[in-house]
Amino acid sequence: MGNNEQLERFFDQMKKQDEQLEIPAFPEVKTRKFSFWIPAGIAASMAFAFLFIQKPEPIEPVSPEVVIITLQEDENQNQHFTIEESTFLETWESPTASLLTEY
């Protein structure tokens, strides 16, 4: 920068003038840092609300799906049918099962 005296003088004077400038204080910048606690709190509140606000669903009686018709014989040797309704079948006997045993 050999031939720059004029410019160096100019900038020296400019810097002297700038010494009078009021420099703002270094700002205390608060960053918008992502916090783990915010989503965790939201999730916990939602879970809590879900547990307590949710109404218990009424248990609907199960409609009978099986009709069991049995032919029974009483002590007087009279036969009569009994009809039962149930949701499941405990035992099932083929209507032709007797053929296997009787013949």
Binding site: N4, F10, M14, I23, P24
Partner: protein
Amino acid sequence: MNRSQLDHILKAHHRDAYLWARQCCSFEDEMAKDVLQLSYLKILEGQAKLKDASKAKTWLFSIIRYTAIDELRKAGKVVSLMDSYDPIEIIEEVDGTNYEEIIKLLPEMQREVILMVFYHQMTIAQSAEILQIGLGTARTHYDRGKKKLKELITKVQIQEEYGK
């Protein structure tokens, strides 16, 4: 780099950073304060990351410059690149001690390179990095800016001589 290290770097360069922000904002104090605040926010929020601590000043100046360009653009105060190459002549009389007004008469890129080199004691290579231009281009701006500023200073001195 953690927050306290960044804080330390920013505090160490705070004065220079403010002066540079002011120079990038055509010496408007309020805009310079806003630009500096926005630049610090960008840094502390991690939008701008410092990879090499030895280049902290160059990095900070670069962020400030781009933030200032954005703010000037928002305020409609930015001149196009072509305009910045046009020679600027003194129209009115300028006080010889009004250094800011004299500097403002330089085209934008020349002004920035000259300020970085003569005012902030940076190298032309560092200026090129901040302006994100090639070293050759930065040298051209430096040479032209120097020549132009010398002419301006001489003109102002002559004006003052004749004015007396």
